[in-house]
């Protein structure tokens, strides 16, 4: 009998399934649980029931959402300080390792996890944050959960979950000049919609994905949730192994060999059936920006602002509403739209490669508008400083600050003022996401850098021409 062909999702699911109930819902073993300041609700639930953390050695705590990015210069807002103190107390009470503010490895959970080798192929990783899909870039089953589920994982190291449907997005061909993983993400979400992959686990495949660095793969998997998918996965390969090897928590010596042997089997079998298949031609993807208040409202930088009549009837009201909020006029070119400020950072695009790409555009140039660069972790910050990237940003006139979620979600006080237009390397352009009344345009870090140089939405390819 021919063996049954399995998808990568099938294999990862089977490896973590403790049991499956008659109604089809699985109880899954959780290999890593990442918590942050926002997990206070879950710890409170645990306390109410008199429970303790079941596997403190598999639980890791991060100060990221509320981390101040200007440390020491001013006293902390008491609300923010209380959030950080609560996490410290909870980590201490339960014997959980905490990456605190002063830790040289501090940073955003989805940046530090991979850096520390906590994220490995074949693991199941949970965090009370929707961008947990980031870790799927390593061939891990990684998904965001809510506070009740966080409490459940803390108490039992397992999670109930119905297996999602499988979907494969294959990107064939080659990426054009000046086009990055962020553009692939905004491109497919623009095409399929913010609920385009709802109920599905997305596996990214194809020549272009194989050619992406781990940073690029993380950006792509990170944005899966913006297309409605709780999971984004990429089969691990030599690029993955090279990234993971010798990381502090990665397996060593014999365990490393055994792990690699297992990880090499983590791919979808050739004949494995997917519930849904989407194939994209990379040559059709251009540097992309969002113009509206949903990640699906994304277009190539060469496009014009759409009118309500340009879209299907069901989406017209949303277009009108978004144009009003964003202060944009249909028919105007996207390129040339005046921008007030820029932000580079976040779990989507705050890694070393992102900073290199932005610095490559900015080298020897001045920013016309203010902006802030917040590395995704203290290690990324140190690496960037060793490479002199901080000098490029500072010389251009941008603020070089400490790491955290910062202006992506504004919880730490880094906010965009009402009516201000921000070119941002982050993941959500929702109304008020960066501050009440703030107007967010999502794009790649290189595109953000280009916008800072001209003070307008700009096709980065113009600024990359004749750059060595």
């Amino acid at each position: 009998m021919k063996p049954i062909s399995q998808t990568l999702l099938d294999k990862l699911w089977a490896a973590h399934e403790v049991l499956r109930r008659n109604d089809g819902v699985s109880l899954l073993w959780v290999d890593r649980h990442l918590v942050h300041e926002g997990s206070h609700h879950a710890f409170a639930k645990l306390k109410e029931r008199g429970l303790s953390v079941c596997e403190p050695n598999l639980t890791f705590a991060f100060v990221d959402h509320y981390a101040p990015t200007r440390r020491g210069s001013q006293s902390l807002d008491p609300q923010i300080l209380r959030m950080i103190q609560t996490l410290r107390q909870n980590a201490d009470d339960h014997g959980v390792h905490l990456y605190d503010l002063d830790d040289p490895r501090q940073g955003i959970a989805h940046v530090v996890g991979p850096e520390e080798g906590l994220t490995l192929p074949g693991l199941l990783i949970n965090c009370g944050d929707s961008h947990t899909s980031t870790h799927g870039a390593f061939g891990a089953l990684a998904f965001g959960i809510g506070a009740t589920e966080v409490a459940h994982v803390l108490a039992t190291q397992t999670i109930w979950q119905r297996k999602p449907k499988s979907m494969r997005i294959t990107v064939e061909g080659a990426l054009g000049f000046g086009v990055s993983a962020k553009d692939i993400a905004l491109g497919w979400i623009g095409k399929l919609g913010t609920d385009g992959a709802q109920g599905h686990a997305v596996e990214y495949a194809g020549a272009v994905i194989r050619g992406l660095s781990m940073e690029g793969r993380m950006t792509l998997c990170n944005m899966s949730i913006e297309g409605g998918a709780r999971f984004g996965i990429i089969a691990p390969d030599e690029t993955t192994f090279a990234y993971v090897k010798d990381r502090p928590f990665a397996p060593k010596a014999g365990a490393w060999e055994q792990a690699c042997a297992e990880w090499r089997g983590l791919c979808s079998d050739k004949e494995a059936p997917f519930d849904r298949e989407v194939v994209l031609d990379a040559s059709e993807i251009a540097p992309t920006v969002t113009w509206g208040t949903s990640p699906e409202q994304a277009l190539p930088i060469t496009a014009t602002v759409p009118a309500a009549d340009d879209v299907m009837p069901a989406k017209r009201e949303a277009v009108r509403d978004a144009l009003a909020y964003m202060g944009l006029k249909a028919g105007h070119k996207l390129e040339g739209t005046a921008v007030d400020q820029v932000f580079i950072g976040s779990c989507t695009n705050g890694r070393i490669e992102d900073l290199r790409e932005a610095a490559h555009v900015l080298r020897g140039r001045q920013a016309k508008i203010p902006g802030q660069v917040s590395p995704g972790s203290a290690k990324v910050k140190a690496q960037a400083e060793a490479e002199g990237l901080d000098q490029i940003f500072k010389a251009a006139g941008l603020d070089w600050v400490a790491s955290g979620c910062s202006m992506c979600v504004g919880m730490n006080g880094d906010l965009v003022e009402k009516g201000q237009r921000c070119a941002s390397s982050t993941n959500r352009n929702f109304k008020g996401r960066q501050g009440r009344g703030a107007r967010t345009h999502l794009m790649s870090p290189a595109m953000v850098a280009a916008a800072s140089v001209t003070g307008m939405l700009t096709d980065v390819r113009r600024l990359l021409e004749r750059r060595p």
């Binding site: 109604d23 009740t148 459940h152 929702f430 008020g432």
Partner: protein, 203 residues
């Protein structure tokens, strides 16, 4: 948490697609302990002026005592913040009807006794039009997955396991504790066959 299988209340239409969890509760309110109540933060920036005053023409503001929302597709997309569900529940909302929901939001809802009832686009249009921004009484029957709103009688969809959880008021931690032996056995086997899956140096 108390289970429920029928609900009779008042429904109001919120005819917008993609009401994400950042709209349901802006991030700046999420440091508040739950005990203080999250109801006042529900849809804060959509329903309030910058002064904090309620906008008179916003559907939820014009009427009191609403317990059911009828909203557009992709309700609760975005951030995993369960606070979005707390804001709804603490405002007295028991069910949201929409053509689709963000995956994480829907599971958070069920964990807090809030019904995420999926209806097809045609039913949504009919119901939405019949409400025309005026509230109407609604009867929800979880057992039969059906509801009645004025002259409209229709079915909704919810994962069977979620319906059972809502009806019985089950709590997952209690359920999982019945499986502690299976979990321990699984952990033991995984530790033996895939020791690399434990953080190097720990355990």
């Amino acid at each position: 948490m108390a289970g429920w299988s029928t609900h009779i209340g008042m429904a109001v239409s919120l005819p917008q697609a993609n009401i994400d969890t950042d709209q349901l509760i802006p991030a700046r309110f999420m440091s508040v302990p739950r005990a203080q109540g999250y109801g006042r933060f529900l849809l804060h920036d959509m329903r309030r002026e910058e002064t904090g005053d309620l906008k008179a023409d916003f559907p939820l503001n014009a009427h009191e005592g609403m317990s059911v929302l009828i909203a557009g597709r992709n309700f609760g997309s975005g951030s995993s913040r369960e606070a979005a569900v707390y804001a709804l529940v603490d405002s007295g909302i028991r069910a949201v009807f929409a053509p689709s929901f963000g995956d994480i939001f829907a599971s958070n809802a069920v964990n807090n006794g809030l019904l995420p009832a999926q209806i097809d686009e045609a039913t949504y249009e009919t119901v939405s039009q019949s409400l025309e921004r005026r509230p109407h009484s609604i009867t929800i029957d979880l057992d039969t997955r059906s509801f009645q709103l004025g002259a409209v009688e229709a079915r909704f969809w919810i994962d069977d396991s979620w319906a059972l959880k809502l009806i019985n008021g089950w709590d997952d931690i209690d359920l999982t504790r019945h499986h502690s032996a299976a979990i321990a056995a699984f952990k033991n086997t995984r530790h033996q066959t895939s020791a690399w899956a434990w953080p190097n140096g720990a355990d």
